[in-house]
Symmetry: none
Subunit: 307 residues, 2 copies
DNA sequence: GTCCTTCCATCTGCAAAACAGATGGTTTGC
DNA sequence: GCAAACCATCTGTTTTGCAGATGGAAGGAC
């Protein structure tokens, strides 16, 4: 014994209190009464504190015992959660799940999934990162995140495996006061090129020098999507946005969808997929999260209220 | 043995990690190496989890081991607290001061007070716990702490006596890149409701099902305040924070105060009070601490530098 | 490359512990 | 006043954990 106090002391102590008598505690613990008696007095010796008043028929907790009982319960419950955590680990559950999500992915879906995740896997912390474009791939590639909810880029990543989740509609928008909105029919490409385009920059080097959907020679490059959103509403330029982020503005009229010539009328679709290293497939928690995202995203009706 | 895992398992585990090798742990624990080896592998058997990677010269913690180590440390320190408490009880003199402080209370004030306390009462050990919301009341209610520096909750605790210390200003903040910060005038409630709100969860059952200041239907619940802080800075959502924790970020511009419609411009004030059991008024040391907190908090100018 | 140290796992006998069961004293309810 | 249930203490037996020894592997020194 490394130390006078052991968990058996505490467990016996708690059982004695809960069962109301040493004998009952012994029955519960599958021991004989003398054993319980011994453990309890051993604990009292260790502490130098009398835990029970034994004058009556049933032992009664002393005031000191009440306080120490609270400590004991805390300790034992700590051990129990530790064991529960270990059991989950043994079954292959991830110790924590690090996920990077592309900014284009609907926040409402992520937040609902995170909430559901927290109640489904209360012992597995979820670490969420939000990044854009190529920068969102980086954590998956270098192993900081075991899972990425990412937009499919026209680049191959041989070390990654992906699983399609669905599409995010992209639309070209401009403020209602922007000159481009005067076109109520299809806007030709060369017309777009005359106006300032707001483009999301890629913070990573993965996509260095490659642009997607850049039409206009005059561009402003913004590092984050909500800034771009703000600039669009301020009529600084036009640009593409995921539909779910601008739906409200379109409904309220502050932003207008541009009907661009070589875009399908429904807008361009950005495929979102779950990515992970081929060498490290997701465990149960990651698997669950992917499936949950898939399911909750095809029926997103009840999430409309939220952002 | 009532249960597979014992405190000796945990203590050996911790020693092995801290000392860096089983042999060193054995020396520290005054045991032979084979004993440590046996205990560690016993613990691994119990958990069904491999705690150390033994392929190298020195055993190396596995990722699972890291997480379980945190549990183990918590448990063992709980036992130490319990023993310290028992020792004080046995000696009869109740010279120790156990205080629980709400996370919302300014850290700088607490640490300054603790420093002053140590030089004023060098022989009185001070035991500080930090908890949040309802969970911070629990130790005062069950007597484990004789004093609580707590936020006033809209719930009555008839067994407690309180004494007002002052107010902590709460402000609603969001990252500078968050869409809400574009409002430079008062933000209506319904606008806040459109965005993800970060909410501190209450670990205790005291406030079960009751929320304070929750405005948005979409929330993320975080178990600790520094995580919430990090998430706010990552622009994951908006939320309320005590002013003292975000002052630096506001000054540097990384966080922005949201001017919420039904909040006074100075922000909402959270009243902090010193609580103790009505039946057990604080002794001289507790009394001094309360008074010191009161005094040092109304003149907090010289604490600004500290966090 | 080879030696030498230091590490870990495993095995063995031995000592200490924790166990079940028995006994006796005490309280409580009938 | 008696039976039942409680607790403390004692005793022999079983189990557990201990130290010490042995062997294999890793890594630094030369």
């Amino acid at each position: 014994m490394l130390d006078g106090v052991s968990l058996d002391h505490l467990r016996t102590f708690i059982a004695a209190v809960d069962e109301g008598s040493f004998s009952a505690a012994a029955r519960k613990l599958n021991r004989v009464q003398s054993a319980v008696s011994g453990w309890v007095s051993g604990l009292e010796d260790q502490f130098g504190v009398v835990l029970f008043d034994r004058s009556g028929r049933f032992p009664k907790l002393t005031p000191e015992g009440v306080l120490l009982l609270a400590d004991a319960r805390g300790i034992v419950s700590g051990v129990d959660t530790m064991k529960a955590r270990a059991k989950l680990m043994a079954s292959g559950l991830e110790t924590e799940l690090s996920v990077v999500v592309d900014v284009f992915f609907p926040t409402a879906v992520v937040s609902a999934a995170a909430k559901a995740f927290a109640s489904r896997f209360p012992l597995t912390p979820l670490r969420l990162f939000v990044e854009g474009l190529g920068a969102a791939y980086q954590p998956v590639l270098d192993g900081r995140c075991s899972l990425g909810i990412l937009a499919t880029l026209p680049v191959a990543f041989p070390s990654l495996v992906s699983e399609r989740l669905g599409e995010v509609p992209l639309v070209a928008v401009a403020s209602s006061s922007h000159p481009l909105t005067r076109f109520n029919h299809r806007i030709p490409r060369h017309e777009l090129a005359k106006h300032l385009q707001l483009v999301l920059t890629d913070r990573s080097d993965l996509m260095a020098g490659r642009d997607f959907g850049v039409v206009s020679p005059s561009t402003w490059r913004l590092a984050d999507l909500s800034t771009k959103h703000a600039f669009l509403k301020d009529s600084i330029g036009w640009g593409g946005m995921p539909l779910h982020m601008v739906e409200k503005d379109i409904a309220s009229g502050s932003l207008v969808v541009l009907d661009v010539d070589d875009m399908p009328p429904s807008g361009f679709m950005l495929t979102m997929s779950a990515y992970h290293q081929a060498s490290e497939p997701p465990g149960p928690a990651g698997r669950w999260l992917i499936d949950h995202l898939k399911d909750s995203w095809v029926h997103p009706s009840d999430l409309k209220r939220e952002q």
